[in-house]
Every structure is written in structure tokens, then in C-alpha cells.
Amino acid sequence: MCLGIPGLIVEISDADRKLAVVDVSGVRREVNVAPIIEDDAMEDLVGVWTLVHVGFAMSRIDEEEAAKTLEVLRMFGEAQEEIDAMMASEAMLAGDTPEAAE
């Protein structure tokens, strides 16, 4: 449930109504930033990545946490690449199969 998309806040459009413009892949849309203002001034939100849902910036994306998760995922990727490489070299070593001999 609940489609949410990462977007970058690029501009404050109406500080009184807590409205800012986010950019999602080159598409821009005005969103309400009330959920993520915290103690900041509106203008400090420019450059913040946020999770956008139905026109509201619902959460700040935590770059550090994103990096941590990616690091774990990267390890799975690297481990898999090693396995792939091992299997490729095994296949090469097994080059004297009947198929290859033909």
C-alpha cells in the first residue's frame, strides 16, 4: 500500500502554507513539507531528499542509513560475483567435455 517516491526538494514555493517543489526524475510537483520541517527554517529544506506520498513530504531520507543498507546489499552482490566468477572458471576448466571436444 501507499506509493511513496524519493524526491529532492529544489525550491520553497509558499513558506506560509509550507509548500515546496520536489523533483522526481525531472518531474516537478508542489508538495506540503509540514511533516518534515522539525525545527528547521523552510529554506533549509532545499537540497533535502524526501519520501513523497500524495503530495506530502512524509519523511526525510537518511543518507547514512541508505548507505548502510546499500553496503550490506553490495556485499551480497560481490559475494555473488565471486560465485559467478568461480562457476565461470570451473566451466572453463571443464573444457574437455564432449561438447567442447566436438
Partner: protein, 353 residues
């Protein structure tokens, strides 16, 4: 009253003085004559002045040539959008319907249903863009009609175009020809038109620099057929998008189709619109993008031919016909998982969840 008969009675030089269309412009009197003469025929320049277009072309007389005839009505909101307008679509859409069947488009008719209150300046822009698109496609708009309806009876402007073309002897492009192993190729990125219209409509308050792909495809088709006369079939992926075009082909040919998610060309902004609104780009409309099936040994030649034309610069392979799962289109996802790409159910609606 046709454009011709309007022109037959109204000689050159008539100028329309009004700024907006009123019911008088559909009344059959002088106002209508002025409208037809000043706005339509002065731009379309139909050669013949009788009540019907009289057409002749050497291609028609060739042995084994087939006449191709198609018609399509165009309604679009907004009338003008980045990359085109209703007039350009009306010409390109009908030209492309002929072209994808292997026909050389020659002549078009254009019928207009105009809501009273429409600005004459808008009509002029639409007509000018029709002429420009016709020139680009190398076709003539040779006959037409106008009707004016009361406010609320139509949404500004509806355009119907019919097209006549000739399929030279020996050409047989049809979905039933597709066989397993044939390769599916598109001429460019997908979904631009649908995304451009969504953004231009303003309901969703999205702004994005996306232009409709609206363009004639007959030059591209001729280039393809020149190098691969045995190209199996082509479909322009208009309403319902690529997914619907592929499903129609799979159904008609009784084959399965496999496409590769990683190979589907999409503009970043179109992806953005789709992510925000929860839409699937495979179902977004295109107005100048086709999918064709070529025999495997002709793929390189077809790709090169497509890329040599302006409409085909980004041509790319997206998949192939297979003998497993007949009549079903399957997309290999980025992870090697497969999922069915079905026909669109109803209309694609933006979603929050």
C-alpha cells in the same frame, strides 16, 4: 458542406473577421464560407474545386497494387500540448495507420466538429500544424468538412481524418505473419505522448519537460521495407501503449511474445511521472512510436535502416516471438522473474497505493 464546395463558391481572398466561432460559422451562409476559405482551404490548398476530391496516382495503376483506406477520430485534452496538437495527431495518426500496414499514404480527408466559442486563432494554429505534418509525411489533405455545435455539445474541437494509400504489389505486413524467433523492435522511447498529455492537462499539477512523440512514420516504414521486404508486421503503439500492441499481435499470430524489461527504452521524466502516479509506462499512449517484427537474419539491416531516419534514431530491440505460452506476452524482469503483460483493463488511473 465540404471544403471543396465552400471553396467553389467562395473565391480567393475572403477573410474571416470574427475572433471566435459562433453557430453562424456552421450555418451554411457567408460566415461559414469565409471560415472554410480563410482558415481551411487557404492552408490545405486542395487541388480540385469540385464537390469531391478527384484523385489519380501512378501507384494506383500498378499491377497487384492494393488500395488502403483508414479512418480515425481524434479527441484530446488539451488541444495543444508540448510536441504537438490535435491537428498534428490527426494527420500523423492516420498516416501511421496506413504506414504500419505497408501502405504509402497519399491523401487525407479532415472533418472538424467545432464547439462554439473556440478561438479562430486556435483553429488556425491547428490547421497550420496539420499542413506542416502533411508536408512532412508527403501527403495531401484533399477534402474535408466542418460542423459547429453549441457550447457543451463537444469539447472544443474534434477532428476526424480518413486516409487513402497504396500498398505496392508483393507487400504483406500482417500480425499473422509473425513466427517464433522473429525479433521485436521499437523505433524509440515509449510513453512520451501519454506522459506529456498527463503533465499538460494539469490535473495532477506535475511539470515536466516531456514532448509528445507525435510524428509521421511512413518514411521510416519505407526505409525498413526497402531493406527487409519480408518484415512481418508493424503496429503503432497508440492507445493502450506497447502492451496492447504486443497483445494484439500475439493474439493474431497465435504466438507468445517475450520482452526484456531492461531493454524497454524510457525517458527519465516518463519514469518519474509513472513512479509518482503509479502508472505502468507499457500502457502509456504513443503517437509516433511503433513496434515491428523482423525475421532474425534481417535485424541488423532493419535497425540500421530505422536509425537512418529521424523517427528511428533510437530504434532498439525489445524482445522476440516465442512458441511457448501462445497468445501471452511475458516480460522478463530485471531479476529474471517473469510476469504477464496483459491488455489494459479499462483506463489506467493514477493511484496512491
Amino acid at each position: 458542406m465540404t471544403l471543396q464546395s465552400g471553396l467553389a463558391t467562395a473565391r480567393a481572398g475572403r477573410k474571416l473577421k470574427a475572433d471566435t466561432i459562433t453557430l453562424a460559422h456552421g450555418g451554411g451562409g457567408k460566415a461559414m464560407r469565409d471560415l472554410i476559405e480563410d482558415v481551411f482551404t487557404s492552408v490545405f490548398e486542395p487541388a480540385d474545386m469540385e464537390d469531391q476530391a478527384r484523385l489519380t496516382d501512378a501507384a494506383l495503376r500498378e499491377d497487384g497494387a492494393t488500395l488502403a483506406f483508414t479512418t480515425d477520430s481524434f479527441v484530446v485534452d488539451p488541444i495543444e500540448f508540448p510536441g504537438g496538437d490535435i491537428g498534428k495527431i490527426a494527420v500523423c495518426g492516420t498516416v501511421n495507420d496506413l504506414a504500419v500496414g505497408g501502405a504509402k499514404p497519399l491523401w487525407l480527408s479532415a472533418a472538424f466538429i467545432i464547439e462554439e466559442g473556440v478561438e479562430i486563432s486556435l483553429l488556425r494554429r491547428v490547421v497550420a500544424s496539420m499542413r506542416a505534418a502533411a508536408d512532412e509525411a508527403g501527403v495531401r489533405i484533399v477534402t474535408g468538412d466542418t460542423k459547429v455545435v453549441g457550447r457543451g455539445s463537444a469539447d472544443k474541437l474534434f477532428v476526424t481524418t480518413s486516409g487513402v494509400g497504396v500498398i505496392p504489389a508483393g507487400r504483406d505486413l500482417a500480425a499473422r505473419n509473425v513466427r517464433p524467433g522473429d525479433v521485436a523492435i521499437v523505433n524509440g522511447v515509449l510513453g512520451d505522448h501519454g506522459a506529456a498529455i498527463l503533465a499538460a492537462r494539469g490535473d495532477m499539477a506535475l511539470s515536466a519537460e516531456i514532448e509528445s512523440d507525435c510524428r509521421p512514420l511512413n518514411a521510416l516504414m519505407e526505409a525498413v521495407i526497402a531493406v527487409a521486404p519480408d518484415v512481418r508486421c508493424a503496429r503503432d503503439a497508440t492507445r493502450g501503449g506497447l502492451a496492447s500492441a504486443l497483445n494484439e499481435i500475439a493474439d493474431a499470430a497465435g504466438i507468445g511474445i517475450e520482452i526484456d524489461e531492461a531493454g524497454i527504452p524510457l525517458r527519465a521524466e516518463v519514469k518519474g511521472v509513472c513512479e509518482i502516479l503509479g502508472l505502468d509506462p507499457l500502457y502509456l499512449a504513443n503517437e509516433g512510436t511503433l513496434v515491428l517484427f523482423a525475421p532474425p537474419e534481417k535485424v541488423d539491416a532493419v535497425l540500421a535502416a530505422m536509425r537512418s531516419t529521424p523517427a528511428g534514431r533510437d530504434a532498439t530491440i525489445i524482445g522476440k516471438a516465442v512458441d511457448s505460452h501462445p497468445r501471452i506476452v511475458v516480460m522478463q524482469t530485471l531479476f529474471g522473474g517473469g510476469r504477464i503483460v496483459d491488455m489494459l483493463v479499462g483506463e489506467q488511473l493514477p493511484r496512491i497505493c
